[in-house]
């Protein structure tokens, strides 16, 4: 009953370091998303994917890159971490079927601190 799994759950980075967050879903969902949550800002979309091999920019894509080489995985990369990227990151996925596809399912979050 895994659903959407994110790794790592916690990470502290130094400014300028790079890292990759991994998201895996076992629901055979077509669509996957990366959000960040900051106090008073709600959930903001970073990048998303509508299927294997595709990616697209969301609301706040700068400083991030993504890849969807396999349908079940969606990777979020920080090439050169900045303190402004300190946040909680949530991966999500959803089906392309109607009407269940209107509901997106979230992972448990990854807490990233950039010092």
């Amino acid at each position: 009953n895994a659903g959407v799994t994110q790794t790592p759950k916690f990470r502290v980075l130094k400014t300028g370091q790079s890292m990759t967050l991994l998201c895996a879903q076992d629901m055979n969902h077509e669509y996957m998303y990366w959000y960040r949550q900051d106090p008073g800002m709600g959930l903001r979309l970073i990048h998303y994917s509508v299927g294997e091999g595709t990616t697209a920019k969301g609301e706040v894509p700068d400083g991030y890159n993504v890849s969807r080489l396999k349908k079940q995985n969606f990777l979020l990369g920080l090439e050169s971490a900045a303190p402004s990227q300190t946040s909680v990151y949530f991966c999500a996925s959803r089906s392309d079927r109607f009407p269940s596809g209107n509901t997106i399912y979230f992972g448990e979050g990854s807490w990233l601190t950039v010092v």
Partner: protein
């Protein structure tokens, strides 16, 4: 420009009473609305949804009301229980092709149910 607004950052309610969480939106093209609940250190989980063609949807203790003319959405929890204490996000979907649905999240309301 915040298209989905939750103007109350927090709400406290006595156990057994009704909790009413509010959400306002600006885009009349939103065609589906959802509520998510989030506990600390966990990802948001889907709670209840409503299509824009309806004005009410009920699921157990949870009822969502939609007033399209006022562009207002509310979540009623009756009776409230201590386990309902969490952050509640409302979200709206605006369509395009199904793969490019945009989910717009509010900033969240922290509900505390007092025993």
């Amino acid at each position: 420009d915040q298209q989905v607004k939750q103007n109350s950052p927090s709400l406290s309610v006595q156990e057994g009473r009704i909790s009413i969480l509010n959400c306002d939106y600006t885009n009349s093209m939103f065609d589906y609305f959802l509520w998510y609940k989030k506990y600390p250190a966990e990802g948001p989980t889907f709670l209840i949804s409503i299509s824009s063609i309806k004005d009410k949807n009920e699921d157990g203790r949870f009822t969502v009301f939609l007033n399209k003319s006022a562009k207002h959405l509310s979540l009623h929890i009756v009776p409230s229980q201590p386990g309902d204490s969490a952050v509640y996000f409302c979200a709206a979907i605006t369509g395009g092709t199904s793969g490019t649905y945009k989910y717009i999240f509010g900033t969240g309301t922290r509900l505390k149910v007092l025993a």
